[in-house]
Symmetry: C2
Subunit: 565 residues, 2 copies
């Protein structure tokens, strides 16, 4: 008799599992129960649909129920599965269009129930024009209301990647956008320095960014939202997008008695099989393992969902395919900034018990001899003890995606800085500098691991400046043109090229923090000063790129000692 | 006493070794002997200087002799080293400006003499307007003469990457360009199928491409070249670029008694040290090891030169840094095509004794739901026995560089197809399809390794068609619109979506070659036919993308059986 495969959930992992199983075993009967009226659509494309980059709704739809039908996969839309009996191998639920119940039995089951949005517990959530963006219907609802000229101000609650993508989309629709984030920074998966650069960029683009600020209430008139009350202020808003994140949707699995992991998602083994044989879970509702930490983790992303669905599809047909691990690789675009990450940030690495060191370099997408190069700032993190690469973050208008994919592969290969430094990457002037920024970062890390030069973060320099530590001094080794534009107040300026001849002007006994624009020239300056027997010389990580504090402008007086003479 | 480091050669590896050594040991005296009048320039940028993308010559110059001087590195330009005495640790030669001799001694030596161009042995090489492109002075000479309106036709002898880059540059200058290549294809490092696609693209761009055609003589008038005689025809040419490739420049090292490797380049260990302690070689004159084959190899590229120079610089100061291996990763741009490779091609893998299988997939730089996606064709090669990834090639307007860097990292990590298939790469619609084309290729390879479906190359299909094998038939499973545009003569057409219902029209006993546009739909068709007990079903690798033979157009009659009825 034909085996019967039942799949619960039809957005990403579910359809993928169905298609793969059907190809592996064309004799299997496959049915997908999908609660929504649409199946197999690009959830990641929703912000682009709202913003107008994707003009037609149907572009989001990857494969129709009819197309699945022709491949021998039955799709039952608007069928909500409410109950799962693991003993009887039975699912049952409600046909949402008729209100009538249905039931089905399975030989193999795939749970792909996805995630659900986290809703804040504040008054006013029921006002009109309070949105979330999770399903294609949410996007429809936003477009229906927000395009109206009556909506001028939109507040986005939550500064994660969907909130940021939507900030661009809503700006494209002509709205004034404010982001309210409870944490001390937006994009909390990133380190504070890079998140600070992103914040400055968004502010330049006209977005209001409010951090360390909690949502307290929504206020409205005539049933429609009109304002947002935060812990610090009231903000006018004719529409609000709640974007506080998602959690795994596991109620069905939990009630049925399937094991739930520590992350709150459904526990699965490397074959995507749950605690009950023959029952699989894939996509946003399932747990996975983090390659760097070795711990269970939950990373709800479309690419992972696709791969997990495929893996489940193979294994439930009797194949043996392991989906071992994830790295937390993620990317988003906001205006012209490409923002990407893989593995651990510095703060995550600290939390996981590593001794992380970082390299921050300027990453261009072409050789500097060619015009039109675009820059991303690249941070690569490694472990001081083992030299192993732990992660990377990149942001800017340059090829962040390429840098991050390269480091992701280094993570998968469990490479050290020394191995990454010898990577044989594609070079020609239109595509890369002769040494890829990834390799430059690996070299910077090697220098740090060898302890050649000490370093300070911009935040540490700022803290020392404020606590007024005696004998501390900042040396700026940039060129005249750069210094005229902006400089750190109180810093001493000697361009790198003059350092050798003017080193006598500096006090060897002071504790020197040396900086330039990005940290490369100041590194060389540190070597020179150490060679001249300066006692304490430290390089400022990421230089002015990561300096988000006060700067003196040209008009701020007190420029270079030499220029003043 | 100060140690003295002498470096012979000042383009890429030499200056890099000097800078790194000076940083590692600031007390070392460093001198660079450079034969040319310029030092430290971008050799890879020369075609862009000729074509006008780089408008100013000085942009090519990375660091001047004065800048080196300020870092404590002495540069002696127009000094040709003619003799090397390894016993006495002495170099000597000629000051080219004065004709006077010079001599120097060293504690450490770096040989970075680069490569030299291969000149054909034919009459007429001494005519005016016969060029090569190797040094910045060659580029100057080309620009001086070729911009003249008297030069209308340029013949490029050699279809390697410099010849191809120059084809674009010279087209940008308004010249009519023909490429003459002795081999049966251009870009000989690539497999014939991809090289064929590149050829068609160049021809669309107005370049004449002549393969399997040898240069026999250059003809001229009044001392200037006027025509090129090949083994097949005479071509008018008011300028000729000889671009037959380069070989390592090792005469000095050979005469001094240093070991020369099998590749003809200077033998070095993994620390870039030659057969004589204290003497290093780096860049285009030095050998290296290929990670995939484990054999010594010679890959003259700017990125490798930089890394080797750095490695030599560290080690000659007493450090221990290994430059273990290369992958032969390379990339070039020609018009809007990005052409890249890493590791082994199919033909190279065969030659090295592997049992290679390939996956050819369409690689987009963004999700198909977003407009404006650009495509590169990606081929990934793996070993049938071990499942190990062996190499990749990519070409087209898409992100070939990203695909190739990703596979290069997989090669460095010695990954299998199964490992590559689970790579956690950055996905969001503006940057990638949900499954990266690299992962799709790995999945295709996994299917092949499991022997699910047999396959044929386009060339094999063509050969069978020509030899008229009985019982052989071609099934086209594309959509109507595609078939109306072009189809393989004699093929039978049933769109994939109708295959299930119309399978009775096909003879199960025939040997079926199934194709679509790229090979993905036809793979699914093969599975369906096998499931229906068809005896011999094979998928055509790369589909029409790699079909470079006759096609029927819409007007060619004999369209679909169904449409004809």
């Amino acid at each position: 008799m034909k085996k019967r495969l039942v799949i619960i959930g039809g957005v990403a992992a579910g359809p993928k599992a169905a298609a793969k199983a059907q190809r592996c075993d064309p004799d299997m009967a496959v049915v997908i129960y999908q609660e929504e009226g649409e199946i197999s659509y690009s959830g990641c494309g929703l912000p682009y649909y709202v913003g107008g980059t994707i003009p037609e709704r149907k572009k989001l739809l990857i494969k129709t129920a009819e197309q699945f039908g022709r491949d021998g996969i039955q799709v039952l839309k608007r069928h909500r599965v409410d109950h799962l009996d693991l003993e009887k191998r039975q699912v049952s639920g409600l046909k949402l269009d008729t209100g009538k119940p249905f039931a089905d039995t399975y030989d193999r089951l795939v749970i792909a129930t996805g995630s659900e949005v986290i809703r804040p517990k504040v008054p006013g959530l029921d006002f009109e024009n309070v949105f979330q963006l999770h399903s294609i219907y949410d996007a429809d609802a936003i477009l229906l209301k927000v395009r109206s000229s009556a909506v001028k101000n939109v507040v986005i609650v939550g500064g994660g990647y969907i909130g940021l993508e939507m900030a661009e989309a809503l700006t494209a629709l002509g709205k004034k956008v404010a982001i309210v984030e409870l944490a001390s920074q937006i994009a909390t998966l990133f380190d504070a320095d890079l998140a600070g650069i992103l914040r400055q960029y968004l502010e330049k683009k006209g977005i209001t960014v409010l951090t360390s600020e909690g949502l307290e209430a929504l206020g409205g008139e005539n049933g429609t939202v009109r304002r947002v009350q935060t812990s610090k202020r009231q903000i006018p808003a004719e529409a609000v997008l709640l974007s506080l994140g998602v959690r795994p949707r596991v109620e069905l699995a939990r009630k049925a008695g399937l094991k739930i992991g520590k992350t709150g998602a459904i526990w699965v083994n490397e074959y995507m099989e749950t605690s009950v044989p023959g029952v699989y879970a894939a996509g946003d509702c399932a747990e996975t393992t983090h390659l760097v930490t070795g711990k269970n983790t939950w990373v709800p992303l479309g690419s992972t969902a696709n791969k997990q669905g495929r893996t489940a599809g193979i294994n439930l047909c009797g194949g043996r395919s392991a989906f071992p691990v994830v790295l937390g690789t993620a990317i988003f675009k906001v205006f012209d900034f490409n923002v990407a990450k893989t593995g651990l940030s510095m703060k995550e690495a600290h939390r996981e018990g590593f001794e992380p060191v970082q390299a921050i370099v300027r990453g261009y997408g072409r050789a500097h001899i060619l015009p039109g190069g675009r820059e991303s700032i690249l941070k690569v993190v490694a472990d001081q003890k083992s030299g192993r690469i732990l992660g990377a973050q990149a942001l800017g208008e340059g090829p962040s995606d390429k840098f991050i994919d390269t480091v992701a592969m280094a993570l998968q290969g469990r490479m050290t800085c020394a191995q990454l430094a010898t990577a044989d990457l594609a070079y020609s002037p239109p595509f890369s500098p002769a040494l890829s920024p990834v390799i430059v970062a690996a070299n910077v890390l090697l220098n740090k691991l060898e302890g050649k030069v000490g370093w300070l973060s911009a935040a540490e320099v700022k803290e020392i400046m404020e606590t007024g530590k005696d004998g501390f001094a900042i040396l700026d080794v940039r060129d005249l043109k750069e210094v005229q534009e902006k400089r750190i107040p109180g810093s001493i300026w000697i361009p790198l090229e003059e350092l050798e001849s003017r080193v006598g002007e500096l006090d060897r006994d002071k504790q020197w923090a040396v900086h330039c624009h990005s940290g490369a020239r100041s590194y060389r300056a540190c070597l020179k000063l150490q060679h001249r027997k300066f006692k304490t010389v430290r390089n400022v990580d990421g230089g002015l790129l990561c300096w988000r504090y006060d700067l003196e402008s040209k008009d701020g007086g007190k420029l270079t000692p030499r220029e003043d003479e």
